[in-house]
Amino acid sequence: MQDIDQLRVTIKQMLDSQRLAVLATQGEVRPYGSLVAFVATEDMKNLLFATTRATRKYANLLKNRGVAMVIDTRTNQTADFADAAAITVLGDVEEIADHEQQELAGIYLNKHPYLREFVESPTTALLRVDVKTYIMVSRFQNVQELHLTS
């Protein structure tokens, strides 16, 4: 188990190094999973991702803000069972307000510059996950939680 500052650094490094996350939203009957390009804010309180408004995930989010996201370091080798780490993020999503759009889109595009056209399209929504908890799994079965308290 790691000290809280070590844990925070480990999680931050993973958030910075990984480009994609699996997003789970709540559908009518069953959960729905999709892959999204994300970025974490410096204070780790928010994750940002973008989606067009016609998607299932967007429809789901309008009904239920609660999401889980999974970010991991797997390489699709058996060594992953030993070496890969995964973070499950729990939080609530909201669409970014106009006055914050420019700043947060900047942070997002800084990590994903190739997505400029996509993000700037009027049909795309930039969304913010208000993170409640990070759950970090390493060495296959070791699990440690980081709760955001304010």
């Binding site: 000290d3 809280i4 699990v143 939680e145 304010s150």
Partner: protein, 719 residues
């Protein structure tokens, strides 16, 4: 490409795939030295095997269970045992089997062979540690040869090798192992030789025993020793051994036996022999351009070279590096049998007597000064027994391991710890103590008292009081040996009342059919081998029982020291502290019987805006079963009496002072790891789910947390 190269075909470019040992032997054979005829199974065969069977991935998973730095020696042994069992239970793919077995059969037929490791990096100056990998002597027939090749491969991941993994550069994706198979020479006299004495560069050393070399290498047979001048080989001195035993080949292996009388007075080598060994040694040194560490054997007048490798000393060994001590724990059956005699006949009786003698002294009558020297004396006595504990008692636990390996080799069970079932139920002191507590609990359960007046009524109940007195006479105050002995009989009564609240059959050892397991194990052996297997089982049972009993006896000695300290505190310390420097020093110097790291401040789990929490921690599966309950963290003896039935015991180490609450526990979580620690042994004895080797267990888990103990997988889930 052939996977098997005869020595005579090995050339320099083969070195990386035949390993240091095979290469050196092939080279020496070409220079005219007599080397037992043999072949090398090249490292590619190992790679094919571990890759095609998935073993490589299993090893990777096994070794990543925990950070290596967090693993105790016993956990390293456990990991090595599990890896070994994987090799043992995974047959060679058919094609590979054919590629190896056909040429081996052709070359050796039914002749007895030696199967030895030849790791590509072993024997190089960088990583020349003796005894890291296995060798097997007197193996016969196709199946046995293949089986032992697998075992030599497995020994790439032996506990010893894992301990030196950094020095060896051990890596699942890169490391491999070649194997030497040679005809067995039934040497009549054997030994080792060093072309340079590590203590004096101008000298060479030759050691020799009657019989095979194994006795010398594992320390069972004391060798004669000659010091020679490096230049010219003049004999400087000869230290004769007390020659009593020798190791010889017997059916299916090797073993020690008494030396015939006519050899007892005869040194294994005469002067001519010594010069021949010396000259072989110098040849090897000249040829390899480095000082050599050589093994040799003589049959009649023929001198055979068994192995030659660069002589190295572990130069960078840290002062507190305990790895060499750990390696010394690996002992042979013969060596352990001698140790058993010493423990049973000398050590344990003397330890018991030491505690009894102290108990007989009347502390209340001593003056302050006398009591002070009494304390200092008792602490000294205790510390000297702790030293014996490390030197003789811990190494004796290797008997369990030795049996485990023999059992696994014979049965090849899915569960590598199945053998523990054969060792449990051996009447350990700790279990007997708990049985007496259980009898008292049964009496309370059946008594017609209500819970309001239970304690009072019990104090008037003669049958209960008789049991209580008998218990105290045998085991003393429960909290003795922990902190203070002042809790008296009331604490035992309270504990018994708590025990009585648990249904009687709970926590009984989940007996497998031990008799059937024993029969099935012994059925694998005939004749001499069978009686050896029986002896080994008997040794392991004693070893298992001693593993717990020795701590109880040691606890009694410690209890006596603590009792004297308590007496002093009561009578002569006003504010609960001790100012007299000599006394203070003695008390602070009370050794811990096992390494318990000093309590640190624990992990920081909170900072502004964030709070962290352990959710699931992986350790070692130590007692099969699953349990869920409220945690009770035991930091010191004063926590013990708060323990309630159905709680999960969370502690640093289940030592003898704690075991009496084990029958109350739903599950056990322990910081110390390994299958052979007391927590694991006691948990198995009672059939309680147990996970050991959870680093920071007592700081990450808090009393009152709901925890799930998965004793099958070694996982603890909090919340």
């Amino acid at each position: 490409m052939s996977l098997i190269l005869p020595f005579e075909q090995i050339i320099e470019k083969d070195r990386p795939r035949v390993g240091g040992k095979a290469y050196a032997l092939s080279v020496m054979a070409k220079t005219g030295a007599r080397v037992p005829s043999g072949v090398c199974i090249i490292a590619d065969a190992y790679r094919r095997y571990v890759r095609s069977t998935g073993i490589a991935d299993q090893i990777r998973l096994e070794l990543s269970r925990k950070r290596f730095a967090d693993m105790r020696w016993e956990e390293v042994w456990d990991a090595a045992l599990r890896i070994r069992n994987t090799f043992l239970t995974t047959p060679l793919p058919r094609q590979l089997y054919g590629d190896l077995s056909r040429p081996l059969l052709q070359r050796f037929g039914d002749a007895a062979v030696v199967v030895r490791s030849s790791a590509p990096d072993e024997d190089s100056a960088r990583a020349s540690f003796a005894g890291l990998h296995e060798s097997y002597v007197n193996i016969r027939g196709k199946e046995a040869m293949i089986d032992h090749v697998r075992l030599v491969w497995a020994s790439l991941w032996s506990d010893a090798a894992l301990l030196y993994r950094r020095e060896l550069g051990l890596d699942v994706s890169r490391s491999s192992m070649a194997v030497v198979v040679q005809e067995l020479v039934r040497g009549e006299r054997s030994g080792v030789a060093f072309s340079r004495d590590p203590n004096d560069e101008t000298r060479a050393v030759i050691e020799a025993v009657h019989g095979l070399n194994q006795g010398l290498v594992d320390g069972t047979v004391e060798p004669d020793r000659w010091l020679l001048e490096r230049k010219g080989g003049r004999i400087i001195s000869h230290v004769a051994a007390v020659r009593e035993n020798r190791v010889v080949a017997h059916e299916g292996g090797v073993g020690a036996g008494p030396l015939p009388d006519e050899l007892k007075n005869r040194p294994p080598l005469d002067e001519t022999d010594i010069l021949r060994v010396y000259s072989l040694l110098l040849n090897a040194e000249k040829f390899f351009g480095a000082s050599q560490d050589m093994e040799w054997t003589m049959k009649g007048s023929d001198l055979f070279l068994l192995q030659s490798r660069p002589l190295t000393t572990v130069a960078n060994e840290e002062k507190d590096d305990k790895r060499p001590w750990y390696l010394s724990l690996k002992r042979s059956f013969d060596n352990l049998s001698l140790l058993r005699k010493k423990i049973e006949e000398e050590i344990l009786p003397s330890m018991i007597a030491a505690a009894e003698q102290m108990a007989a002294r009347d502390l209340a009558s001593l003056t302050e000064q006398k009591l002070r020297s009494e304390i200092i004396g008792r602490v000294d006595i205790y510390n000297s027994w702790v030293a014996v504990y490390w030197k003789d008692l811990i190494p004796f636990a290797h008997g369990i391991r030795l049996f485990g390996i023999a059992y696994n080799d014979a049965i090849r069970p899915k569960d590598p710890y199945e053998f523990m079932n054969l060792l449990a139920g051996t009447g350990m002191e700790g279990v007997q103590r708990n049985r007496m507590l259980k009898d008292m609990a049964a009496l309370v359960r059946s008594a017609p008292y209500t819970s309001d007046n239970l304690r009072e009524r019990l104090s008037d109940d003669k049958r209960f009081q008789d049991l209580l007195l008998a218990f105290m006479a045998r085991f003393g105050d429960l909290s003795c040996g922990t902190k203070q002995c002042s809790q008296g009989p009331d604490s035992i009564t309270d504990l018994v009342i708590e025990l009585a609240s648990v249904p009687e059959d709970r926590g009984r050892y989940a007996q497998k059919d031990v008799a059937a397991l024993e029969r099935s194990f012994l059925a694998h052996f005939d004749g001499q081998e069978r009686s050896h297997a029986e002896e080994l089982l008997d040794l392991a049972r004693t070893s298992y029982k001693t593993r717990d009993d020795d701590n109880i006896y040691l606890g009694r000695v410690k209890g006596q020291a603590i009792m004297a300290i308590d007496e002093y505190m009561r009578r002569f310390s006003k504010d609960g502290s001790i100012s007299e420097p000599e006394l203070k020093k003695a008390i602070e110097g009370i050794s811990a019987p096992d390494t318990v790291p000093p309590k640190g401040p624990g992990k920081n789990m909170q900072e502004e805006g964030f709070r962290s929490k352990a959710r699931q921690i992986t350790g070692q599966p130590a007692g099969p079963g699953i349990a869920r309950g409220k945690a009770r963290v035991i930091a010191d003896a004063s926590d013990l009496h708060r323990f309630r039935a159905g709680e999960v015991l969370v502690c640093d180490a289940v030592d003898p002072s704690i075991t009496f609450i084990v029958p109350l526990a739903a599950g056990i979580v322990e910081r110390r790891g390994g299958m052979l620690i007391h927590g694991a042994i006691i948990a198995r004895e009672y059939g309680i789910a147990c996970v050991t080797g959870i680093p920071d267990a007592t700081s990450l888990i808090h009393t009152g947390d709901t925890v799930t103990v998965d004793g099958y997988l070694g996982i603890v889930t909090i919340g």
